[in-house]
Amino acid sequence: MKVTNIPFMAMRKIVAAFSVALILISLGSLATKGLQFGLDFTGGTLIEVAYKEAPKLDDVRELLGQNGYSDVVVQNFGSTTDVVVRMANAYTPTLGDEVLSTLQNHGSNEVTLQRSEFVGAQVGEELREQGGLGMLLALAIVMIYVAVRFQFKFSLASVIALIHDVIITLGFFSLFEVEFDLTVLAALLAVVGYSLNDTIVVCDRIRENFRIMRDTTPYDLVNDSINQTLDRTLITSMTTLFVLVVLFFLGGEAIHNFSMALLVGIIIGTYSSIFVAANLLLAMDVKREDLIPAPKEELEDDLP
């Protein structure tokens, strides 16, 4: 088997500029456009119905408008016969049932309820807080674990790489105005786990090489390590991307955004584990001494 010898680290300046650009675009979009928070986080009412024959959305809007539901969003969901009606906050919990019977009592087109959801404004806010908190907690715990198992520089590098992935995935959702709901949040946390997994494998190899390759500069060593793990990084990402593509196309509307978040996140995660974490390690001037304890006699001087 051949081990590739791509000079990844020679591209580090360009790659860093690329990452910074992506992050700036993402942050810019998040700051100006924000996220399209779904019902889970904003609160409100949503009902999804299945028509026997595809209705005209304008007709549905008009019907609802006539019955006093003015501020509604009517969209197709997955297929032309499935219709989702979304309503903003200031409504009562019985609203869903009322809208359903309005739709059902009109015309001969048979309407069945697929799902209806009502989330109170306060609950939405709490879920948002909880989600953010979970994300921070995950990053903090990962940082501690890597610091203990490896070393502080590795911990900082991998956590920054994770933040990089999360920000860019969020930026994608903001830029393309894809709805951000609870399942997307779950996917984002899964991305953190996955990307970390990738980064750890690279870091592990760097650590190992520091032990066995004594005469190599950190720069070459990091480059070699990435090349040695490249095969595995790509194969694993590929198998995961295969199943995600299957989920994206065949998993149904309910987990569409979920699989999209994972797809984007895992592509970014794979990129960041090859380029970002290692790049940061070099930037922080990682040395053999960081991982291998210094010779003993130096330590003895400190003892009383």
């Binding site: 609870l182 295969f242 065949l250």
Partner: protein
Amino acid sequence: MLNKYPLWKYLLILLVLALGLLYAFPNLYPDDPALQLSTQKATAVVDEQALLRAKNALATANIELKEAELTSAGGTLRFNSGEDQLAAKPIVAAALGDDFVTALNLVPTTPEWLSSLGAGPAKLGLDLRGGVHFLLEVDTPAALKQRLEVSASEMKAILRKDRVRYRSVDIEDGVLSVRFLQSGDLSSAEALLKGEFPEYRYATRQEAGEFYLDVTFTEAAKKEIEAYALQQNLTTLRNRVNELGVAEPLVQRQGSNRIVVELPGVQDTAAAKRIIGATANLEFHLEAGLEDNGADIETLTFRDGSGRTARLERDIIITGDSVSDASSSFDENGRPQVNISLDGKGGRQMSKVTRSAVGRNMAVVFIEHKSRSRFVETDGKMEEVRRSYSEKGIISLATIQTTLGNSFRITGLDSPRESSELALLLRAGALAAPIYFVEERTIGPSLGAENIKLGINSAQIGLLVVMLFMLIYYKVFGIFANVSLALNIILLMACMSILGATLTLPGIAGIVLTMGMAVDANVLIFSRIREELASGMPSQQAIHSGFNRAFTTILDANITTLLVAVILFAVGTGPVKGFAVTLSLGILTSMFTAIVVTRAQVNLVYGGRKNKKLYI
């Protein structure tokens, strides 16, 4: 060197796999749609005869019954399809009458020898089987206010009895203020009330020449009342849900003031909401005499919409809380009525009051505590403001003919539905504090079935794609990895079943994702072996060091992912939790299969022979 496992390791692996297969097996048997028959009353039992009545009714309606059986909890009627089950429900309910509760359910078809080993299929989440999820919040401020109101009337009575003169008693913003003209009255009232009501904090103030005693709850009392309100509401909700006849309902506390209610299979959410959220209660009052006047009289309207009013004494004879049993039926004129039996204390109270009031009128008052939310803009932010209020209306006013005892009936209800729901609410008990819905999710049965289909479909195709890829890329070792992957899924399903974890659509997505990631450990090992072979190591040694050197990497990588999955489980709710469960279980089982089971296969095939060429 040779790569060999001792015999016990092979046996251990076989044992784990056999257990995995055994416990994953029930998932292959699809659940039967069924009707669960039970009874809430001591007088009725689900027996052969009841089953026979149901069977006959179904036979007349031409609905095919798969099986009918008696169980410890009642009876189960199994059907061949969901449509049969839905069509059968009203027929069976009508045939059995009011004493029985008929609930839609899915019952496992696990063979007996498997279920006797504790094996059963994984539970399906609401998004896969359809149903309703409610999150309710208990209005604890209202509970506190109610308690203050009760205390206020008790305090008045005590002060009156001990001839302490007070001007007024007001409740505002959780503070009960008693106003006095004389400071002497204030100090004797304070001493008196402190002894009688130790759960309050007392403060005095003087304003515009008048004296006030401000009474507020101590923190401990506040907490106790809130906890009691939540506990009481939980109990009441459980009773109501049981009365609704839902199979396998979930009524659970969440946080300090919320309650989760999950009703699988329920489709009529409107009815479910009406009954779960209802705060209706009854009060019995005597009609005030013509000469009575003042604060102890209140004028209420009739609920029949006629606009008639009646003047009632404020004193309550009894409330719906004293009702021990209630059922709905029709009176001689075909109007709905509710038959009520009182408990011992309520019955004594009722007969004591009515004995001295024969010839007077007694009113039955229907009370509903409601809350209305409005959104108002404060400081540029939309804020939800909830205001609770009660609606009172007289449902009947009748002359007391004779002393009333333990059982009687009330009429004057709008519809049979109202009478049967009132009966249900009286049986299940009143809520100690108003509740309101903060979240509701309904999933129709067709969407549930579709979600299962989509989930299984994508899982199968995902599995196929991964297996094909591994086979092409790693040849014989690809086969090893694929066998491990298949076993991983079996073990994962077995763990789900054993732990009783709930499978949701994101959970299935988690399984699919696990498949992609589960091969990672094998990829790590195999690329290590390839590397060692490339550097000229003999095949046996390459296998050995490939597994050994990949191990720490696998461990580190998986533990960090597991940490994230656990956090996801801790902060997630509902479907997200389902994802976290399958993801973390998948990580654990994949470590076992990818390392131990793959190694066993490699050892079996290649371990015994020296320097054999490895197809990797």
